[in-house]
C-alpha cells in the first residue's frame, strides 16, 4: 500500500519531470519574444488614399476582384469604396452597394434590406468617397489572435494568410477593427488584401493602383524618404483610420473627414 507521503513525493517528481521537457524543448531567445527589431527593414509597404480625387468609379474593386480571384458576385471583397453624404440638417448617410464594384450610378443611398434614401443635391452639405483596404498594421490584432500561426507579419509589414495552415476559425475576421478580413468561399480560409504581394515584390504597383484613373491610390515604400507616399505622409496632412486602437495602420488618407469610420 502506498503511503500518502510517497504518493505526494512521486507526484511532485513526476509533474516536474513532465513539465521539464516542454520548457527544455525550445530555448526561447528573449529578443524573439519581445519582437524587437534589431535593425530597420529596407522595405516597409505603405499606402496613400486621396479622398478628394476618388470619384467612386469602383474600377479598383473590379480590378482587385479579378486580379486576386475573389469571387465576383459573392458578398466578399478585399477592397471597397464607401460613399459618405452629410446633409445640411447634419444627417450622415453612408453606403457601399456591392462594395462599390459597379461604381455609384445613382444619388440614392442604399440603406440595405432593399431600402433606399433619396437625397436631393441641394440638401447635401458634403459628400465624398473613401476606399478601404487592409491597413497592414504595425501591431496587427488579426495576427495576435491566430491560434495556429496561419496569418503572420513579414518584416516589410505585410500580413499574409497561409491557406494550407488556416483552420477557418474566424478569430482574425472578428479581431480586425477595420472589417477587412473575410472567409474565402472557394479556399475555405481567411482572406484579406495583401497589397498584391505577388506584384509589389516584383516592382509592380498593386492592381487597384494601376486601375485607378484618378491617382487616388498609391502604394510605396515607407522606409524610402524619396518615395511619393512617404513624402506625402511626411509633408502633408494625412490621417489613419481608428488610430485609437493603437494598431498603427499604414494606409494613410489625404483629407480624411471626421465622419469616416
Amino acid at each position: 500500500m502506498i503511503k500518502r507521503r510517497d504518493f505526494l513525493k512521486g507526484a511532485a517528481v513526476g509533474l516536474t519531470g513532465l513539465a521539464l521537457p516542454f520548457a527544455a524543448a525550445e530555448l526561447i531567445n528573449p529578443q524573439t519574444v519581445t519582437a524587437r527589431k534589431t535593425d530597420r527593414p529596407k522595405v516597409r509597404w505603405a499606402f496613400l488614399v486621396d479622398t478628394v480625387r476618388c470619384v467612386g468609379c469602383g474600377l479598383c474593386v473590379r480590378a482587385c476582384k479579378h486580379e486576386n480571384e475573389v469571387p465576383y458576385d459573392a458578398n466578399v471583397t478585399r477592397t471597397w469604396v464607401e460613399r459618405y453624404v452629410l446633409t445640411k440638417d447634419k444627417k450622415l448617410f453612408a453606403d457601399t452597394p456591392k462594395a462599390g464594384r459597379d461604381g455609384f450610378t445613382t444619388p440614392r443611398i442604399d440603406l440595405g434590406m432593399g431600402n433606399y434614401q433619396e437625397i436631393r443635391n441641394e440638401d447635401i452639405a458634403k459628400a465624398f468617397f473613401v476606399s478601404k483596404l487592409c491597413n497592414q498594421c504595425e501591431n496587427p490584432p488579426c495576427v495576435q489572435v491566430c491560434p495556429v500561426g496561419a496569418t503572420y507579419q513579414l518584416p516589410d509589414g505585410i500580413m499574409l494568410v497561409d491557406r494550407e495552415w488556416c483552420i477557418g476559425c474566424g478569430y482574425c475576421i472578428m479581431a480586425c477593427p477595420y472589417g477587412i478580413r473575410f472567409f474565402h468561399p472557394k479556399y475555405h480560409a481567411a482572406d484579406k488584401c495583401n497589397f498584391c504581394y505577388h506584384r509589389i515584390t516584383k516592382g509592380m504597383n498593386t492592381a487597384c493602383v494601376e486601375a485607378c484613373p484618378y491617382q487616388a491610390r498609391q502604394v510605396g515604400n515607407f522606409e524610402n524618404p524619396a518615395d511619393p507616399v512617404t513624402r506625402a505622409v511626411m509633408t502633408e496632412r494625412v490621417r489613419v483610420l481608428k488610430s485609437e486602437y493603437g494598431t498603427k495602420p499604414h494606409v494613410f488618407y489625404r483629407e480624411l473627414a471626421e465622419e469616416v469610420r
Binding site: 502506498i2 512521486g10 513526476g14 513532465l18 521537457p21 524543448a25 526561447i28 529578443q31 524573439t32 519574444v33 519581445t34 519582437a35 524587437r36 527589431k37 527593414p41 478628394v52 480625387r53 476618388c54 470619384v55 467612386g56 468609379c57 469602383g58 474600377l59 473590379r62 480590378a63 479579378h66 486580379e67 461604381g103 455609384f104 450610378t105 445613382t106 444619388p107 447635401i124 452639405a125 458634403k126 459628400a127 465624398f128 468617397f129 495576435q144 500561426g149 496561419a150 503572420y152 507579419q153 513579414l154 518584416p155 499574409l160 497561409d162 495552415w165 495583401n194 498584391c196 504581394y197 505577388h198 516584383k202 509592380m204 492592381a207 494601376e210 486601375a211 484613373p213 484618378y214 473627414a257
Partner: protein, 157 residues
C-alpha cells in the same frame, strides 16, 4: 514502487510522446519564429514564396501598347488617357494565349461609373461631365455615338 497508481502516469507520458512525434512529422520544417518575433512572426516560410509566385493578371498599358500602338496613340491625347485598357477590355492575363479575345464592356452602366452626375462638394466627382441616363438617348450604347478612345464631344464618331 510497483503500484497501479503509476499506471495513469505512463498513459500520460505515452500521450505526450505521441503528440510530440506527431508534431515532429506533421509540422513543416520551415515553420518557425521569423524576423517579426514570436507574436507576429510565427509562420511557415514556404508560404511567402507561394504568395510571391501568384501570377499577375492586370498587365497595364505597357503590355498592350507594343501590339496596339495605334490605340495607344489615339487615346493618349484624350482625357481617357489615364484609364487603363484593361479597365474596359478586361484583364489581359497572358493574352493573346489566354484570353484570345478581349471584349470591351460597352454597357451604359460602365460609362456611368464616372459619367453619372453626382455634384458632390469636396469630391472630384463633381468635376466630371455627366449625363442623365434617363434623358440622354436611353437604351443606346454610348459607343454608338462617342468613341471611347477619342471621347471629344466636338468630334463625334
Amino acid at each position: 514502487m510497483k503500484s497501479h497508481v503509476w499506471r495513469p502516469l505512463y498513459v500520460v507520458i505515452a500521450l505526450v510522446i505521441v503528440v510530440l512525434v506527431t508534431r515532429y512529422i506533421y509540422v513543416p520544417k520551415d515553420f518557425a519564429v521569423h524576423e517579426r518575433g514570436y507574436m507576429y512572426g510565427w509562420y511557415r516560410a514556404g508560404n511567402v514564396e507561394q504568395w510571391k509566385a501568384v501570377p499577375d493578371k492586370f498587365k497595364t498599358n505597357e503590355y498592350c501598347k507594343d501590339c496596339h500602338p495605334e490605340k495607344e496613340a489615339l487615346i493618349s491625347k484624350t482625357p481617357h488617357a489615364s484609364i487603363q485598357c484593361e479597365n474596359c477590355h478586361g484583364l489581359a492575363k497572358v493574352h493573346p494565349a489566354d484570353p484570345p479575345k478581349l471584349a470591351a464592356d460597352k454597357s451604359r452602366e460602365f460609362c456611368l461609373r464616372c459619367h453619372y452626375p453626382l455634384p458632390y462638394p469636396s469630391s472630384d466627382r463633381s468635376k466630371i461631365k455627366g449625363i442623365d441616363p434617363e434623358m440622354h438617348n436611353p437604351g443606346i450604347e454610348c459607343s454608338n455615338c462617342h468613341n471611347p478612345h477619342k471621347p471629344s464631344l466636338r468630334r463625334l464618331k
